[in-house]
Symmetry: C2
Subunit: 105 residues, 2 copies
Amino acid sequence: MDIQLKRGLLDVCVLAAIKDEDSYGYKIIKDMKPYIQLSESTLYTILKRLETAAMLTVRTAEHGGRLRKYYRITPAGKRRIEEFKGEWQEMVSIYRFVTKEDTDE
Amino acid sequence: MDIQLKRGLLDVCVLAAIKDEDSYGYKIIKDMKPYIQLSESTLYTILKRLETAAMLTVRTAEHGGRLRKYYRITPAGKRRIEEFKGEWQEMVSIYRFVTKEDTDE
DNA sequence: TCGCATACTTCGTGTTACGATGTATTACGT
DNA sequence: ACGTAATACATCGTAACACGAAGTATGCGA
């Protein structure tokens, strides 16, 4: 999939990946993989950005003798997902503009 | 609309704006305005990029004593639009991932 | 013990959308 | 005649961003 097309989707996808239960980096990548692929460096950049924007909170916990960072969505993060639903409608209208046939043909 | 979300749409929108008949910068901006807004500097960057990618050709013509650059879509440009339709299906599946409700709620 | 999966981090780079600014001509109102 | 807006295209610098590459470290199975 085209990188540019992915850009607007990535942040909101990561939020969606943690919206039902807390998750951590590696798991987020695996959960998203069937829908959208991203590298580790990209994910951690996004997580940092979303944390700065207060759309998620981070908690470090031990798991199997190893440290994991668990991410939890905040109300602001959930609002972002709702906002995206509205933007999606705009996208749909753009899609129709792009694909609409000329009346002559 | 979120800038990131626009990114993947812009190129293909410009192609859509010229796909039925040749057009020029100012007109393209006005035609796209109801769906997606972009500045002149952005448009001319995109037009240059699409020309380099051989998705459109340019022709300079006089109009009302003033020079205008008319842009015409190429077969490669039309293929790009078709390709976008496929990518859109991926977008739809991502949208569903983002908005799907937890089965418990 | 060797390699693989897990898990997170940092750095440099190329693409890109945009605002600011500039140039020039036409059209229109007063 | 004169000023202002609209038309039309161009360039420059900047900041956001996704990514590959590389690094660090641990647990686990063959």
